[in-house]
């Protein structure tokens, strides 16, 4: 059941990313281009997604456990530390340069474009270096 839910959720998410324009890096860069010709479309993506999660999570997280699993596996960290800020800043810079964030980049594998694979290879290399660094 867990795996079936994962398949349905992954597919819904992928449809959402493609439908919303998030898989088009030019559109993402247009959204971040406040000082050029700004494309506000992606505000609606985040707005609609947050409208769902902000309202529904209040109820879901009051449940004693999820429907098909034993527990809620939520991030435990709450501190605003330099690592969080540095990571978010580096991510933002890379997001601006390329127009890709991880979700849309992985969903874009469907487009079978060699550029996507170059991006993903670099992204996983960067994350792997981060993983090694964090262990020390």
């Amino acid at each position: 059941m867990i795996n079936l839910i994962a398949l349905v959720c992954g597919t819904l998410f992928g449809v959402g990313l493609a439908a919303s324009g998030m898989t088009n890096p030019a559109k993402v860069q247009g959204f971040l281009d406040l000082f050029g010709i700004w494309d506000p479309s992606l505000i609606f993506v985040m707005g609609a997604a947050l409208a769902v999660t902000l309202v529904s999570f209040r109820f879901v997280l009051k449940l004693s456990k999820p429907m098909f699993a034993d527990d809620f596996d939520l991030p435990s960290k709450t501190s605003i530390d330099p690592q969080l800020l540095a990571g978010a800043a580096l991510f933002g810079i890379g997001w601006g340069i390329s127009g890709f964030c991880p979700g849309p980049a992985i969903a874009s594998v469907a487009y079978l474009n060699v550029d996507i694979f170059i991006f993903l290879g670099s992204m996983f290399l960067g994350a792997f270096l981060g993983q090694l660094g964090l262990k020390k």
Binding site: A18, S20, L50, L54, A69, G87, I118
Partner: protein, 149 residues
């Protein structure tokens, strides 16, 4: 500020799908729909040889669904497939920064931006504001000051 022609309906529908996916994954499976967390969870388990973990299979299946869903949308709707026009240096440099940043910053647009803010995590709100701000600065610097993207 100049504003481009923009769409409302498809982004809203897309966002709704993303929100519903995050809701279902949390409600049914108790897991966070943060794509980095899911993808790097596969990477860390694979690179550390922990293949037996029950946490591995659903993650791979979710990521498969992500690709399936994006492909299915274009097949069914007939919407043109976006062709990235990004030069090689930006693909590689951007990819490295996105991977490193989301790993050490514990999340990306989905994990912090949709799920974290959805559960009113201050950490996620700060992270999202930070990567949005640096995204805007990055496009300003690389597009308008340096003219390289």
């Amino acid at each position: 500020m100049q504003i481009a022609e923009f769409e409302v309906l498809l982004p809203l529908i897309g966002g709704l799908f993303i929100g519903l996916s995050a809701l279902a994954l949390l409600w049914f499976n108790g897991r966070v729909a943060g794509i980095c967390g899911i993808a790097y969870g596969v990477m860390s388990r694979a690179t550390e040889g922990r293949f037996e973990s029950a946490e591995l299979s659903w993650r791979i299946i979710f990521l498969f669904g992500l690709v399936l869903g994006a492909g299915a949308f274009h097949m069914v709707s007939g919407a043109p497939i976006p062709v990235p026009e990004i030069d090689l240096a930006a693909l590689i440099g951007g990819g490295l920064l996105v991977g490193l940043g989301t790993k050490i910053g514990s999340g990306c647009t989905s994990g912090h931006g949709v799920v974290g803010i959805g559960r009113l995590s201050v950490r996620s709100i700060v992270a999202t504001a930070t990567f949005m701000l640096f995204g805007v600065i990055s496009v300003f610097v690389f597009r308008h000051l340096l003219g390289v993207i």
